[in-house]
Amino acid sequence: MKDPRIPDPLSWSVFTQGIWRDNPVFVMLLGLCPLLAVTNTAMNALAMGLATTFVLVCSGTLVSLLQRVIPKQVRIAAYIIIIATFVTIVDYAIQAISLDLHKALGAFIQLIVVNCVILGRAEAYASKNPVVNAIVNAFGMGVGFTLALLSLGIVREIIGSGSLFGIDLFGAQFQPWAVFVLPPGGFFVLAFWLFVFSLMRKRKETRAKQEEVARAA
């Protein structure tokens, strides 16, 4: 049996794992609260994704560095303190960069601390792997999360406001479908994406099954 103390070798999949195979949103359904709340425009989605990636990478680094120092019994409490630290730092950073952005993201910046993705990664990966692996994996997860946020933000902004990243796309005669930048829209767009991915997966499965039948024949 593989000795769990030997960490995974650093490979490309350590990075891509978080983007497609184990995408935190579409596969693991984690981090939904900020997903629906701040994706009413693509800019907010991008900013939230970057902020979460920052917290993921920094907390992953620290957790990995301290993995031999933190006793098992208090590890969750320790991880949460570390995560909360970086979330507070990113909160101040955003305020210093752009007050408008901070107002748009609101309390959801601080709510990054309860984003299950970060705690889950710290527990499942960063605490058991060397620093470089942890950083790469956290970065991949962050990218996956940001892509998920963007996929919702872009759709919601285009349909709901007729613009993308603030740039008006369709001109004055476009009647935006306002419900998409409102709460129900968030639910519907996420449901739509999950449906699309589920469809893709089912199609792949049927094709694999057909190939198997063809080979057996």
Partner: protein, 193 residues
């Protein structure tokens, strides 16, 4: 109705800006525990209790931190308090109702990472509510959370008998339901004058 009256604050958190359906807080249990009405109702009750405890503690901590100009420690302290409150509730439920404890399973300790609780503490701090207002806010938020959960559970129980195509995953379906509920709740906007 006055915007800072206790009734309005309660109504606002309960239906007008429902924590789950309008503010997107507490979605993990919303999707995860809403399979059966009874479990949903019990989860809601646990959340109401945790919210009350966290809200009062958050108010107290905020006063303390403001006094010593340590506001930047706010987030860390809130999280610590919430984790302790959840631990307390978990022990209480385990002692008084082991069946409920088993039914709630992993979702009980997950209340710690429930955005709704931390969101409650953060919102009440941002809006600078005093103590009675904070209490009204937490009762309203908890009641609203329970309402959304129970409604969702009722809908999903009925859906189990329906013929839904395979390709629609349960999550996509639950989210669509959530969207429809959210749409319905938008009708409460402007309530109270």
């Amino acid at each position: 109705m006055q915007p800072d009256s206790l009734t309005f604050i309660f109504l606002n958190a309960f239906v007008i800006n429902n924590f789950v359906l309008a503010m997107f807080l507490g979605l993990c249990p919303f999707l995860g525990v809403s399979g059966k009405i009874k479990t949903a109702a019990n989860m809601g009750l646990a959340v109401v209790f945790v919210m009350l405890v966290s809200s009062s503690s958050a108010y107290g901590i905020n006063l303390l931190l403001a006094k010593f100009n340590l506001e930047f420690l706010r987030l860390i302290c809130y999280i610590a308090v919430i984790a302790s409150a959840v631990q307390l509730v978990e022990m209480a439920i385990k002692k008084f109702s082991p069946a409920l404890f088993r039914a709630l399973g992993i979702f009980l300790p997950l209340i710690t990472t429930n955005c709704a609780i931390l969101g409650l503490a953060l919102f009440q701090t941002n809006r600078e509510y005093n103590f009675p207002q904070s209490l009204a806010f937490s009762v309203g938020a908890g009641a609203g959370f329970t309402l959304a959960l129970v409604l969702m559970a009722g809908l999903r129980e009925k859906l189990e008998l329906a013929d839904v195509p395979d390709v629609v995953t349960s999550a996509a379906l639950a989210l669509t339901l959530g969207g429809l509920l959210s749409l319905a709740f938008m009708g409460f906007a402007g309530l109270g004058g």
